[in-house]
Amino acid sequence: MAMDVVDYEIFGSEMQYVEVELDPGEAAIGEAGVMMYMQDGIQMDTLFGDGSAQQSGFLGKLMGAGKRLLTGESLFTTVFHNEGSGKRRVAFAAPYPGKIVAVDLSTLGGTLICQKDSFLAAAKGVSLGIAFQKKIGVGLFGGEGFIMQKLDGDGMAFIHAGGTLMEKTLAPGETLRVDTGCVVAFQPSVDFDIQYAGKIKTALFGGEGLFFATLRGPGKVWLQSLPLSRLADRIVAASRAGGGGGKEGGSVLGGIGLGSLLGNDE
């Protein structure tokens, strides 16, 4: 099946949404629950599985749905067709503060490995699969777990992650050490590994944990500045339930409390 070429526009700064323009007959798939609005003439259709062409038959669909369950996404994907006569628009909104990045899979050799649940939307024909991380150490300490998501196809895909999302191109052999949890996506040619932080003192008091994730080129990588889990930790810590006092304007000791003297980044 030929991929649909879509025009798009990303709006907003910290809490973004992407507006996708569909020509008559074109379609896009979205993660269930992320659609923000759509114009007249766009038909919504919910598919069991991921809506890519290779899944034929009930069993294939079931497999696709099972994979999506593993990656923490909902079992259903929603397909948005333009059944009208002119160009129509549909928008997908990011579920938490962060950035949306448009990735053209055709320029990437057709495959992208992503952090699970970073997928937002794509042109119809992009297939969502799971990529099992086969390095035990990376699965345990790399911050992304054992299950990652694989996007296959040659259309446009929109991925979303927390904070600022940066694309970096690594030259052959170029290595980047990244805080675990900050890796959002990378091309399959990139070596994703972990590295021991090296010094006990750094590991315990540096606030970066015992390991770094290392990314070795060639290939493109996408990094997020604020993983959702880190944001959630801070919110819980600051909330009444988390023992943070929850008072507006901070606690009595404010910024000079023991907590902030001893506390680190996490």
């Binding site: 050799g109 495959t111 490995i113 990529a131 099992f132 991380q133 086969k134 390095k135 035990i136 191109t169 690594l170 030259a171 052959p172 170029e174 990378f186 091309q187 399959p188 040619s189 990139v190 070596d191 994703f192 080129g217 060639p218 290939g219």
Partner: protein, 359 residues
């Protein structure tokens, strides 16, 4: 010789980080690299090195040296087959590395799954010795507290009987069973189910239904001796410590699923182990012999229970925690026969108050 070009990405030495799309073909012993807008490159197979790399080693890095620098080609494993059939030796090392990696992954995954199970097994094995050690350190005052708590709860749950023929009979039997210097309290609770239990601290509670169903004082004495033996051997204390330990293990295993923890702990509370029951039977026989009470009462009472069971359908609670199996009866009979036949003194209580037809 391969005719369909293999898609690849070419990273020439000294070039930019993005690389260029390229197509590869073999011509005899020579690899031809075609890129757009540049003349085709010819590389001899002898100069090439292949390495499996990238995510799950799913990519091949073909490289060759030119001066100090190396040129690099990245080929996806799914399209590499035409190159591999021509030059299998080139890819052998990388393939072995990839297979080693897959094996290590399977082994690691198996270990990851097995490790919690192994730990659980070790924890369960360590539970019994640990329980014994903890129980040995529990002071008598704690036992006293537990006994008082159990008694208080029993009083809350329903009325107690403090006088009458059944109460008097219980006290008489209790006095006979109490060893010199021992502190045992016997309480009678008005309950419709046949049951008796002993709590730490020497608190023995008997339900009125048990008194009524028993055919003689000796039967009651047998049951009480058994229950007292449980306390003496600190079986219930062991159960308490054990279930606390199980709760800790369950909490560690399932996270904070308190319901699961409680469920797991209750499995342990259901009944004493078969060994504990035998120990208690042994202890009961000794106590009965010391008190010069006919030990066959214990045996007879389990027969009485079995009769009630057959009549009612639902087993009385005492029977469900003390299964009157044929094995147990046989063991009791041999144990009784093996003891020196003392001359039992009848307890001498007129049991007609219970209203059974006289045999």
């Amino acid at each position: 010789m391969s005719d369909t070009p293999v898609p690849a990405r070419f990273y020439p030495a000294g070039g930019d980080a993005h690389g260029h799309p390229a197509r590869l073909t073999w011509r005899g012993h020579t690899l031809t690299v075609m890129t757009e807008g540049a003349p085709a490159l010819q590389i001899s197979a002898d100069a090439l090195q292949a390495e499996a790399r990238g995510f799950n080693h799913g990519q091949w890095a073909l490289s060759w040296a030119e001066g100090d620098a190396r040129h690099l080609l990245i080929v996806d494993d799914s399209v590499v087959a035409p190159l591999r059939t021509v030059m299998p030796a080139l890819f052998r090392g990388g393939e072995q590395r990839r297979q080693r990696h897959n094996r290590r992954f399977r082994l690691g995954l198996a270990l990851l799954v097995a490790l919690p199970l192994l730990l659980l097994g070790a924890a369960l094995r360590a539970l019994d010795p640990l329980t014994d050690r903890i129980v040995a350190r529990v002071p008598a005052s704690v036992e006293q507290h537990i006994g008082e708590a159990v008694l208080a709860r029993t009083r809350l749950e329903g009325p107690m009987v403090e006088s009458g023929p059944a109460y008097d009979a219980l006290q008489t039997i209790g006095r006979r069973l109490t060893r010199p210097g021992e502190k045992l309290q016997f309480h009678l609770a008005e309950r419709p189910d046949i049951n008796a239990f002993a709590a730490p601290g020497g608190v023995v509670v008997v339900h009125t239904a048990l008194m009524r169903q028993a055919r003689s004082a000796e039967e009651v004495a047998g049951v009480l001796a058994h229950e007292i033996a449980h306390v003496e051997l600190r079986h219930s204390l062991q159960q308490i410590v054990r279930s606390a330990g199980l709760q800790v293990i369950a909490a560690a295993l399932f996270g904070d699923y308190t319901a699961l923890g409680r469920w797991a702990a209750q499995l342990g509370e259901l009944k004493f182990s078969r060994d504990a029951e035998r120990e208690a039977d042994q202890g009961a026989l000794e106590r009965l012999a010391e008190a010069r009470i006919d030990p066959r009462g214990l045996l007879a009472f389990f027969r009485t229970l079995a009769r009630v069971d057959a009549k009612r359908g639902a087993p009385p609670p005492l029977l469900s925690t003390h299964p009157a199996s044929a094995e147990r009866s046989a063991w009791l009979e041999t144990a009784i026969a093996a003891r020196p036949p003392g001359t039992p003194l009848p307890i001498g209580i007129d049991w007609t108050w219970a209203g059974h037809p006289t045999h």
